[in-house]
Symmetry: D2
């Protein structure tokens, strides 16, 4: 197990690294609590801890009795009858640190089976990455795979920041080297699990596989991926998954990411007594969630694929050899 | 428990009812095996059985060693090392009968709490329902809520049938009367569960909540649903869910449905030995999956909402009354 | 998959076969609903159904508002607020039919790995089987492995029947051929799972592994199973499990079975209004539960072992071969 | 939430407090990581951490290639192909710290519903507590409820220590104030869950409910608990549970605890190469596990009861009020 690789993934997600993400300074150092002996896993659960270092609960004091637009504040209050108004908890993007750490471990295991999973930013505003250089994306401040589009994306973010506003976008995850036969019918379909994992990331409002919503407007003769030879497919409109099971083509997932709800403009918020106030909120927030969602989405797809792999590899009674 | 209501929902999903769905004749009679005493539930599991009556395994005999485009055939073969080539099983749309029966029961319980869940066809080809009359949809052969759009949708389906082809579309599910506070943070987010449930339906390739993919192109100031009064929201771009928790507005879900992969035109299929053959397949299939997916999606959203409701209703130790 | 073998196990559990078990006549024919293709499992769930044929709900009519001693009647009423007073449901021993069918399938898989699981009656009243002939037990009306003890056991049961009473006893399950390394630490310990499975059988009030309660009176120097050679143990006081993980010795489990609560003598029962009545109850019941519990306990241990086997067989990424 | 009460329970389990338990010095300070806001739970998971402070891995260095009798060493090695030979992990009694912390929290919730759960030592060697003073037990070094028996128990332990040996015993857990109607039929029976929870504690080899194994020798007329008035039972041979559901009487559970396997006498151990060596092992171990198992068993029963309570309290759709 390569702990340094986990740290590298955490660093990709980490805030405070550029002006395109939140200015909050978190070192996000991962510490392994259990499950390792001389660098090898022992079969015991692998417990990792990443501590919050730059929490500033006082920033949130004014929010104690206020429900912000676009935030879970009001729903959480109704859900539990109490709301932890301080930032940095499981209702903030902070909880995705754990996902990235787990996903990084999943990627190590998948990597040993030849499966690579990569998340990147496909679109911000109307700037769309047309070419995909994964190596570039991995180092890009915006996790963008197209240097040209990246320039435009940065401009769009800067404009939004200047207007005390935020922007949304589209994140894409690709997995290559995935063999045919991962996933189970009915409820454990591979795409159902991926949709669950991706939609559980804060700010994500849509998930599509392969050509996704574009397939709704096609005819079957156009949408079907026909066979070429040796079970390879001529096209990949299905995004690598048919009937919930992988078919050997790259898996392609796209996520719709809403603009960060925390903006500097005045908005109509609700007070706990039901009255409405118009005000602007401070705090340190990302002008665009996409660069960080890309890293988290990559982790979630990796976790789902690892789980599917573990379920697949099963001939425990050796029936195949008979 | 109203068994007749379950039968009515099964009848909405049932094939053989019009020329817009599969010609296969199934009566789909539900039989209750356990859990009822004089029409009341007893706390025991409710077991229901719906038998396949019009199975024609011989129709599928020619497919024994053939993998069809757009079908899970090849993936399943790689997954299990054996493939049940006969139709009507859990790899066919037939398995959704069980979902509809369970969903119908969930709707009964939700109904007693004032929650209504309705699935309908929003779009087929480029024909889009602009008005939503749920009463109409429930009786429409296409589950379409807009009589005008329905005419156009039928035309599009008929054209596809004439061309031995199929069409895709968009299904929408709405839930009204949903109180704020359903769903849990992180992995049990309400939208994550809905995405999982909807993407697990055969033929679905995308799921979005509220304005979904359209949010990707907005700014925060436009995307945020601001408060009006008494915790009501001015808009519903969020589709009733923020941060994975319901906010009291109607829940809105849209599903991208691919065209039925079974078409009458010749296609390049793979044989089990890896060779490719071009041929057309017979069988009794839906020219468009949407009308039936609408009923199934409604069931899945109802099941997820019921589950969230059960998790919410929890003050078992009476702490709130202290 | 050998369906006949499943039927044979169901026949061992079946009532109406001798005067030592309930006179209720049930054929207990198993029917396979799914999961098989030409006798081979397909990876789909294996659904089996065994129908109740000799249900006589009218026998139970008088019990509608009566809570019997030693039965779950009162607890169930408090649990659900409604009680299904008719026999043959999941609150009767009838539900164990399903366990035996599933356990029989588990035994087939375990058998292919050289693991044999056998349940038998160790003791009834003060008659104790001193020798263990598993072949004999399998055909014995009492599932008793010792012909001599069987004679005495039958006499004890007959005496109880004559007195309109019932008797308890001890059931034992042995599993041989179990390799070392099954089971997981902490909550998934092999013995914890076995205890759960066995205590979930109606009428079972105690479970012990190996020397069990006798170990409480020993010293460590006496209780420890020391190593002999090649990892074999000199004794088997541990019953094949140490620290929740199998050690390669036979697994030995014993269950305390209470006397059948349904007896022909008058007893003080409660009415639904809280009053107490003294009366005798009719019906067709086993004078001793042990012979049938032996078959069910064998099934439960087999299911737990199969589950542990499935969890163990995991080197899905091929790390061992590096 | 009373954090001090959790600490008090941890202190009851803690080593190093008397010469009757392991001399290892652990402070066992609990730290709350999440889930609390101003002393109230927020609905977020409650994470607690207790750090190992007195780990001495060097004590275990000599055990690296040695499998001890009565320990999981060999089984674990076969299970995972690697064994973490250092003490203090999840294969040692150390993992029960977490159970006690969780159980203490469960007890707080149960206490608010009038349910009290108490674990104590019933027997060590042939010294048996005949009277039960729970207040006394809670402060007793041996968790023994009978001052007279305690003197004898201490003598038995001292004798064993002098002989470089260990002793076993019997632990009992009682829960009072448990209403009728907790637990579910079939696999989620209350006693099945208790058996699972108790048997999952290291060193426990048997579990019985109520009169347990003694019921095996009784007749039904003797074993049945008849009704007295107002649904109360005349006797409590059933230990508060019938058919897996609580009946309103105190719940009584007894656990058979084997002698500590770690003794100072020479024993025949296996080396990793399959050879057998005779040697004595050092280290800091309990001469008798019972006092600490009593605290852990209390926690496990509390956790199971809380879970059953949570499942019971369910009329989420308000059907009862109609």
């Amino acid at each position: 197990m390569d702990v340094a690789a986990i740290q590298r993934d955490l660093d990709r997600r980490r805030p405070g690294t550029s002006r395109y993400v939140s200015a909050r300074e978190e070192r996000d150092r991962v510490e392994i609590l259990s499950g390792l002996l001389d660098g090898r896993t022992t079969g015991a659960p692998i417990a990792m801890i990443v501590k919050n270092e730059s929490a500033r609960p006082e920033d949130y004091e004014s929010l104690k009795e206020l429900f912000r637009p676009g935030h879970a504040d009001y729903g959480v209050y109704k859900r539990y009858g109490i709301r932890d108004h301080r930032g940095g908890g499981r209702l903030s993007g902070r909880e995705t640190v754990a996902r990235v750490a787990a996903g990084s471990l999943a990627k190590q295991m998948l990597g040993s089976a030849g499966i690579e999973v990569s998340g990147f930013v496909r679109q911000i505003g109307n700037a769309r990455a047309e070419s995909v250089d994964l190596e570039y994306a991995r180092k890009s401040e915006l996790q963008c795979p197209d240097p040209e589009a990246e320039v435009e994306m940065k401009r769009i973010i800067e404009e939004a920041v200047a207007a005390r506003d935020s922007v949304g976008g589209i994140v894409e995850v690709r997995a290559t080297g995935v063999p045919a036969g991962l996933g189970d019918p009915v409820f454990m379909k591979l795409d159902a699990q991926i949709a669950w994992g991706c939609m559980s990331i804060g700010g994500v409002k849509g998930v599509e596989i392969g050509d996704g919503f574009a397939l709704a407007g096609m005819r079957g003769s156009e949408a079907n991926d026909q066979f070429k030879d040796g079970f390879a497919l001529e096209t990949n409109r299905c995004g690598g998954i048919i009937g919930g099971i992988s078919v050997g083509s790259p898996i392609v997932v796209r996520l719709a990411v809403k603009p960060t709800p925390s903006i500097g403009q005045p908005q109509r918020m609700a007070r706990i007594d039901g009255s409405v106030v118009e005000d602007a909120i401070g705090g340190r927030h990302d002008p665009c969630l996409c660069p960080r969602v890309a890293v988290v989405a990559e982790a979630m797809v990796a976790i789902v694929l690892m789980d599917a792999w573990l379920r697949r590899s099963s001939d425990p009674f050796g029936f195949k050899d008979r």
